[in-house]
């Protein structure tokens, strides 16, 4: 029964990550991405997925997709029908599932975040509907596979499990909200394990949308730089296997890290612009710390939302300055969107994986494109890969509509 559930007695269980899959423009898999961030590589290049000649900006963080599906219960013809976004989701889920060594079951919840599902198929549907109104060939498949719930069901079919599927569409905070909601499901006793993550693919509609807002950088995406002039879009997916510590230990699973805090808040200021002082960002970081029973002094690294737009970064800097208090002048902050772009619904989950990499490998992933930090930033903006002691990392994700989410992860040792 989804409601009511039997009330959990005692303190909430600890929640650990036992599998993480990731795909970004830096490459497919944990290893390729960890190496990329350790080297501070930038994987933004000219767009090939659609013709950007009439767009103001012509670069993005495109993913090189493999030509074949990893071995799952799906067939090759399923892969051919899928949208680009679904393929990235399956690839990330496969890596996480394999790493965790999970077995299918009938009661495994899944929580995903996305902003546009299979938008490329939606675009193809619309183009054919307009250009050839009488032609229905291929349209039913496009309708089905465009929808986010179909991509979720593809994951269920790929790995043969069942359970409640929740898809959160909170714009660019979707991935972080998904991971946070999965964490809460475990803490509230709804399940012993949850598959969670976020994903989004580049599409012409969304690219044109950000370009129309003049939110894309016509030069180079430089989060927290004094001369920043916009973001770079990217694409990708990350999937995490979360389970209670007790469950993970009972099966001797390798633990990659622990999620210890989650906060979410809403910014009612404007549909696309954050409150100038970052009130909701501050509230989500504060709430995450409260849920983790941590003070800002105990956080060793902040993976900022840091899109590179003038308005986001100044609001987030104000929020971090206020939240960090006395700690802020020594608190390392970076935005990894400088390397892979903004992955929208995938960003929050991918950045959780980046934090896991930082915690496991004890380094600070950089804002690789930074030239001169904005004086608004009272904190050090990390501009090159740096060895460091990292016990706790906080990651921020903010989105259109005022969706704000923060997660805190702990090193597992």
């Amino acid at each position: 029964m989804l409601f009511p559930i039997s009330q959990h007695v005692g303190p909430p269980p600890r929640v650990v990550v036992t599998g993480a899959g990731v795909i970004t423009s830096l490459g497919q898999g944990w290893k390729a991405n960890a190496e990329g961030f350790r080297e501070g590589r930038i994987a933004i290049r000219g767009i090939t997925l659609f013709d950007p000649c009439r767009q103001r900006v012509k670069v993005a963080g495109e993913v090189d997709l493999p030509s074949a599906l990893p071995p799952t219960l799906l067939e090759e013809r399923d892969f051919r029908r899928m949208d680009r976004a679904a393929k990235m989701l399956i690839l990330a889920a496969h890596e996480a599932w394999q790493q965790a060594g999970w077995e299918p079951s009938e009661d495994l919840p899944m929580v995903l975040g996305t902003t546009s599902g299979g938008m490329n198929l939606g675009q193809a549907f619309y183009r054919q509907a307009i250009e050839s109104p009488q032609t229905r060939s291929g349209q039913p498949s496009r309708v089905l596979h465009y929808q986010a719930q179909r991509q979720a069901l593809d994951v269920l079919d790929a790995f043969g499990f069942r359970g409640p599927v929740t898809i959160i569409g909170n714009a660019c905070a979707s991935g972080a909200n998904a991971v946070g909601h999965a964490w809460e499901l475990l803490r509230r006793g709804h399940a012993k394990r949850v598959l969670t993550g976020g994903y989004d693919a580049l599409s012409e509609l969304v690219f044109a949308g950000f370009d129309s807002l003049q939110a894309l950088s016509p030069t180079r995406c430089r989060p927290f730089d004094a001369n920043r002039d916009g973001l770079a879009l990217g694409e990708g997916a990350a999937v995490l296997t979360l389970e209670t510590l007790e469950h993970a230990q009972s099966r001797n699973a390798e633990i990659l890290g622990e999620i210890v805090g989650y906060g979410a808040a809403t910014d009612a200021h404007h549909l696309t612009q954050p409150h100038p002082q970052g009130d909701a960002a501050y509230a989500s970081m504060r709430t995450a710390c409260e849920s983790a029973r941590l003070a800002p002094e105990q956080i060793h690294y902040v993976n900022a939302h840091g899109t590179g737009t003038p308005l986001n970064d100044s609001a987030e800097a104000a929020a971090i300055n206020r939240w960090g208090g006395a700690r802020v002048t020594t608190l390392p902050v970076s935005s990894t969107k400088s390397s892979i772009g903004h992955l929208l619904g995938g960003a929050g989950a991918v950045e959780v994986v980046i934090c896991l990499m930082a915690l496991r490998d004890q380094f600070l992933p950089p804002t690789s494109s930074l030239e001169k930090a904005d004086p608004l930033c009272s904190f050090p903006v990390i501009s090159r890969p740096t060895e460091a002691r990292v016990e706790y990392a906080l990651t921020n994700s903010f989105g259109f509509g005022g969706a704000n989410a923060s997660l805190i992860l702990r090193r597992w040792s």
Binding site: M1, L2, F3, P4, I5, Q7, R54, R56, L73, T114, T115, F125, Y126, A129, I130, P133, Q139, P140, V143, L144, Q149, R150, L153, L156, D157, R162, G163, P164, V165, T166, I167, I168, G169, N170, A171, N177, H181, R188, H190, E204, L205, A208, G209, F210, D211, S212, L213, Q214, A264, A265, T266, A268, H269, L271, T272, D279, A280, F400, G401, A403
Partner: protein
């Protein structure tokens, strides 16, 4: 508190703006008239059941965030405000913490189609005012802005069954003390492209639009109230479990009610679409309501209408228990049970 109370409901439907018009249409039981909408590129019109223009125009239409927004946001806000009633002022003044769950399937389809059309013609002139209105959570954001609510706010995407998951999520937030009250809203807007997409699978389904809201609170304010008693496990349609099997699994989690208990089902009156639900629920002994037969396929709004119809029947003393059974179009089946406290 073990069961959240329903403190209010709100509806926008092809019958009009507000619960009274919805209730009257349910009592009449006649399918509402459909109208033709133009489908570019063909002279074959598409049939939809649309929401009539409000009269008088609700004051919230003048709010800066809602002047240019799409119909789905207007439906969501209108239903939410009706459900909140006088509590809207308490939320706005910060006296009550409110969670918001907005559930959508096709969501902001009108502005999405318009923006992509502009992009195809010339992306350099595509409107920056339209694009932000295309995101899934635009209606939830406008609602939060209108209410001044800064609490937790999720937009859930899925087929219509997801509305009942939204109810369970709200109940969980209330039980855990995360919020004092929570709005669960389902809303959709109709467009020729959605109708065309659905008509690829069944030409007899008539799409519609509107919104529905259920306002849940942790405490009862009256001596008699309606509670959310149960939400079954959602049963996804997968390769291993067919739609009919999923509906059967849901049915097993709902006890066979008395002859007085109400079933608000998701039947359309279209055999191919209804088959699984017809077979599995054929032996229901109590009265039944089928809002989709009257209002059309409102997707997430349709699931909200089912719940509002169930709650309204309980509030009017027509039954002691009411089930909303939602057989989603392409994701899952689920049911919720409401009861008089």
């Amino acid at each position: 508190m073990s069961q959240p109370y329903v403190a209010g409901c709100g509806v926008v439907s092809p019958a009009g703006w507000g619960l009274p018009a919805f209730r009257d249409a349910l009592i009449r039981g006649e399918p509402l008239p459909a109208k033709d909408v133009t489908r570019p590129g063909t002279d074959r019109p598409m049939r939809i059941r649309s929401v009539p223009a409000p009269s008088p125009r609700p004051p919230f239409f003048a709010h800066p965030r809602l002047r240019r927004t799409s119909p789905i946001a207007q439906y969501a806000v209108a239903a939410a405000l009706e459900a909140l009633g006088p509590d809207a002022a308490a939320v706005s003044s910060g006296q009550a913490s409110l969670g918001i769950v907005v559930c959508v399937m096709s969501a902001c389809v009108i502005y999405s189609r318009r923006f992509y059309d502009e992009t195809l013609k010339d992306p350099s002139t595509a409107s920056p005012l339209v694009f932000p209105e295309t995101v899934f959570n635009a209606p939830a954001s406008h609602l939060a802005a209108l209410l001044g609510s800064t609490g937790i706010n999720y937009t859930i995407v899925g087929d219509p069954a997801a509305f009942l998951q939204g109810l369970a999520l709200a109940a969980d937030w209330l039980l855990s003390g995360r919020v004092e009250s929570c709005l669960v809203v389902g809303a959709e807007e109709a467009d020729w492209i959605t109708s065309e997409a659905f008509n690829l699978f069944d030409r007899d389904v008539i799409m519609s639009e509107g919104g529905g809201a259920v306002y849940l609170r942790a405490e009862s304010e009256g001596s008699r109230g309606v509670v959310l008693a149960k939400v079954t496990d959602p049963q996804p349609y997968t390769r291993q479990v067919s739609r009919r099997q999923a509906v059967e699994r849901v049915r097993k989690q709902i006890t066979n009610g008395s002859t007085q208990d109400l079933l608000c089902d998701s039947l359309h009156g279209v055999e191919a679409v209804d088959r699984a639900e017809e077979i599995v629920w054929h032996d229901w002994h109590g009265p039944r309501l089928s809002p989709r037969k009257i209002f059309g396929e409102g997707l997430m709004a349709g699931a909200a209408w089912q719940c509002v119809a169930a709650i309204d029947a309980l509030m009017q003393g027509k039954c002691r228990t009411a089930i909303a059974n939602v057989v989603g179009c392409n994701q899952e089946a689920i049911a919720a049970e409401f009861a008089v406290a």
